[in-house]
Symmetry: D3
Subunit: 140 residues, 6 copies
Amino acid sequence: MSEGTDPVLSRLFTPKTVVHAHCDLPCGVYDPAQARIEAESIKMIIQKVGENSDADFRTRAIQIKEERSELVKHHLWVLWTDYFKPPHFAKYPQLHELFNEATKLAGAGGTKGSTDVATADKLLAKIDEISKIFWETKQG
Amino acid sequence: MSEGTDPVLSRLFTPKTVVHAHCDLPCGVYDPAQARIEAESIKMIIQKVGENSDADFRTRAIQIKEERSELVKHHLWVLWTDYFKPPHFAKYPQLHELFNEATKLAGAGGTKGSTDVATADKLLAKIDEISKIFWETKQG
Amino acid sequence: MSEGTDPVLSRLFTPKTVVHAHCDLPCGVYDPAQARIEAESIKMIIQKVGENSDADFRTRAIQIKEERSELVKHHLWVLWTDYFKPPHFAKYPQLHELFNEATKLAGAGGTKGSTDVATADKLLAKIDEISKIFWETKQG
Amino acid sequence: MSEGTDPVLSRLFTPKTVVHAHCDLPCGVYDPAQARIEAESIKMIIQKVGENSDADFRTRAIQIKEERSELVKHHLWVLWTDYFKPPHFAKYPQLHELFNEATKLAGAGGTKGSTDVATADKLLAKIDEISKIFWETKQG
Amino acid sequence: MSEGTDPVLSRLFTPKTVVHAHCDLPCGVYDPAQARIEAESIKMIIQKVGENSDADFRTRAIQIKEERSELVKHHLWVLWTDYFKPPHFAKYPQLHELFNEATKLAGAGGTKGSTDVATADKLLAKIDEISKIFWETKQG
Amino acid sequence: MSEGTDPVLSRLFTPKTVVHAHCDLPCGVYDPAQARIEAESIKMIIQKVGENSDADFRTRAIQIKEERSELVKHHLWVLWTDYFKPPHFAKYPQLHELFNEATKLAGAGGTKGSTDVATADKLLAKIDEISKIFWETKQG
């Protein structure tokens, strides 16, 4: 059975927060965790590919990584268009660029086209930056 | 801007845990939060439908609720088939029935066919039961 | 032109029964044949991969096998959640385990991760067990 | 529990033939039953809509009928393009028109735009004509 | 048979330019026309809904409009992330905001939630602004 | 940044015509350009594969080419079933065969199974033949 990658999780196994999703009714439920989930999956896939030399396994991994990267892009786009409003962009002028860079990092020049763990880490770092701002706006 | 439904979240806005997803490589990343997210979205949709008498809005809500319910079923099926193994089923003999009931609660006899908040609450309660067992197995 | 794999079919070419599908209205139309169809397709793909050393062909086959395996899982999950009811599970106590094993056989540890015809045959055998019970319940 | 619509099935519950699907590897497995399954589902949906005056139920039915009709079109298109070859079209000169009419009957001017059982019956009849030719070609 | 909405088209019926799409290999083929196509479809749907009082037709139109709006968002997001690069954003500082507004106009506060032709026209105007910049960058 | 493949486009960058899509409401908006777009993307993918010996890149290209080929088939099928009516088939008796050949050229025996630019060119030529007839019927 697989272990979580977060040491806090591994120790406690007691998730106390509830993550939030989105639909465009809108239901009003959003959370950057959806993008982060897929990005972590991508990192795990890249690590597994590095440890497994079977050609068919690699084919499957490349294809699944492609799908997961597309999901990262989609979840981030949804946040950028549907959750964030003009006052947010006024307060955080770097937000547009941040989203543009993050979604590029999940594309052909990022995790779609790479099997380097460092690329996945860069994507995760960008998502964390977005996440920090997201939670600040929820608090404000 | 919408608020989260969890009072802890509303107060602190400081998500400390990382949720986990799944792909069937397998990447080894799973989390019942994915099903819970969609179920919370369903509950919000049902609440919004109750407060809005516009016919087109209702049509959109019924259709989006259908999709979100299908996603709940899918995420739960993935956990049941891909994460849980024979030793888990031996230790938690109620697990099969729990998943069967939970997925039925997201179907035609559950949140797909109902606009009653109580139905969404029943689904959320079942997912919580599954989630509790899931995190116990991660600890074991 | 391809030949069917069933000798009765190959001889007679006269399908006399009507297979049944499902939607979650529910329309009330179900049939294990939908899962079996995809499993047979998987078996054929595996056989063709064994006879063709072209790398691109193999890439295509691995990917299509992945999709078909996901469809097997989906069709079986639908039967387990939407068709079978508590009285069925009471009468056939092995049913939960049977579905769990069958869907695992179409996953990473089964036909998704394997190019062995024997794996496809095991999956087909499980589907046949489910099918036998399904038709008994229709008769009862 | 729902009953099959075929009287032979209802009496015997003993499916003896195996239906056949398709993938574009190609795996070489085809069967008009896939289109027929969805068309029967459409007919059942239309019948259920006639017996249920609930507005949300109708919304769901209209939407599911739309999806099922699209699936009928897809399965028929696959047969027309991927299974049937020039010699078949030479032997059955009506085949092009038959497929064109059948797919139109599952579109906006057919089961997508209609809640009339007669429209579903016309679609089923066309699929039967195609099916008859299909099985003749398998025999030839 | 339906007529195009562009008077030039209606007169000449002689398309001289070739539109361009995208995949994230990347293939390097992009064109704002993909978003425009779906936006024009949305406008036509809204116009048809205004002329047809049948309830089932309206249900179908609301649902199809939802899908087409999602496609507009997707095609625009792809352009924003995959085609446009930092030098473009430096040269056209309004570009981020333009895409953010355009995608919002295809969401719940835009064509998804509205049956007003004016909303579709606003979306089309935004896409034209993007298109103008796109073709300037191709020329540069 | 990629350049368009059409010399006229490359020179002028001034698209004057509006392309047209389809939904099955029907919205009445159709255009063979949708199929052509995907076919051009396929040709570019094949060219890029010929210039890049990286195995993972090839895996991605084969998979994306598969998806794009499926889209070509879909867009052509939609035109054949939803746009063209009996009077068109009477006037252009070659139309059925043309569509059948074009969709076959995007299948396993065409661009799905081939990495030869000539196959993509044959597909593009067939789409042009269809396009020519399409625009004649719009004029008539």
